[in-house]
Amino acid sequence: MNLNRSALDLWVGVFVALGIGAILFLALKVGNLIDFASAPGYRLEARFDNIGGLKARAPVKAAGVVVGRVESIKLDSATYQAVVTLRIEPGYQFTKDTIASILTSGLLGDVYIGLDPGGDPQMLADGGTVSKTQSGIVLEKLIGQFLFDKAAQGGAPK
């Protein structure tokens, strides 16, 4: 197997280039490296009574468009509320009376935070708090509520 040097260098170069290309492809097209590497953006805080199935890194959407990610979720031990930190991409501004709701995309889909801006002329700044929030739907509570309503309905005429 007497390979001349230039052929060997060529093939090794091709191989390494392909390999690095594959890694880049995976990072950019398959993973979310762009999100990861892009400008950090600014932080907003939102408090919820119940976050339902919300997880860290879940998307934050406005009008269905991804505008940021959930950075962290903590519990405030004084008020027993969930404190969710959102990281919003720079270039998107939201009004002070924006409503943050925890929604599900589809019945079995991922949980995300939807932002509904209001009409307030003032915008939220870095570190600001979204005051109006809507907690996530917990399916069991919904079913319980439904059954309770049904029972109340059934018992009313009597």
Partner: protein, 269 residues
């Protein structure tokens, strides 16, 4: 009668004990060998042409089997995945399913196993044969350390090739899944890719997968060069050594995969 049982038991214990001692001594020998190889590595890496040559033999020559296997694994994953997902109306998650399976597990593990069988056994056979034909002794007598000139370049060639091969495997797999899922079955291309992008995290999934393939690369390459260097200098010895490389590497990959997965993907979901 008690005497017979007692002495029989003692001899079993003694045999187990001596076997354990042998195994521990073997581990010590392997460690010393590994340390020597690492010590000689700067000398080997400064002779870049040697290492490049080995990257060619372990990496480039494994391309065909890795690419083809990756493609087929991806296609099968897509078929099987679709079959299950569509029962729950979640067919659009096929991209995520395939991507995560490949990047986290199948990419590093399967390409590691293929690498061990193709390149690992070749390295063992080569070094073993050089030992059997006294080429290693000849090198020693010419005051050239065979660890630096023969062993270390092959070791590093394997380590460099493995993550690249694993990434190529995953890439071809995803492409194969795309072919089957989108082109063949008819899943929406946009949903396929966007769900995948949303579900695969760079640091968590891809980097962990790369770390796994590097760890596997170290394990397989070290085992391959060791078994070659340690082989009995006969035809039978070389063949035994190659088999041992493939078996030991496969077990090491699967065992390390378990340990790494526990540490990396703890608390998933």
């Amino acid at each position: 009668m008690l005497n017979a049982v007692g002495s029989g038991f003692l001899s079993v214990l003694r045999r187990m004990g001596s076997r354990t001692v042998t195994i521990i001594a073997w581990l010590g020998y392997v460690t010393r060998f590994a340390a020597a190889v690492v010590q000689q590595s700067p000398a080997a890496l400064s002779r870049l042409s040697l290492t490049l040559r080995e990257i060619y033999f372990s990496g480039v020559l494994s391309l065909v089997i890795i690419l083809v296997s990756g493609l087929f694994v991806g296609m099968v994953l897509a078929l099987q995945g679709y079959d299950v997902l569509q029962r729950y109306g979640a067919a659009e998650s096929l991209g995520v399913l395939v991507a995560l399976s490949l990047v986290r597990e199948l990419g590093p593990v399967v390409s590691g196993l293929l690498f061990a069988s193709r390149a690992g056994s070749a390295i063992t056979a080569e070094i073993g044969l050089m030992k059997a034909t006294e080429q290693l002794s000849a090198m020693e007598m010419m005051a050239v350390d065979p660890l630096a000139r023969v062993v270390a370049p092959r070791f590093w060639g394997g380590i460099i090739s493995m993550p690249l091969l694993a990434a190529l495997f995953s890439t071809l797999g995803i492409f194969g899944a795309y072919l089957v899922g989108v082109k063949l079955i008819g899943i929406d291309a946009g949903a396929f890719w966007s769900n995948m992008q949303a579900g695969v995290d760079f640091r968590y999934d891809i980097v962990n997968g790369i770390i796994k393939s590097i760890v596997f690369g170290v394990a397989v390459s070290m085992l391959a060069v060791f078994e070659g260097y340690d082989a009995k200098p006969t035809a039978e010895g070389v063949s035994t050594a190659t088999t041992r490389t493939v078996v030991e590497s496969s077990l090491a990959i699967l065992g390390l995969d378990f340990v790494l997965t526990v540490f990396m993907f703890r608390g998933v979901g």
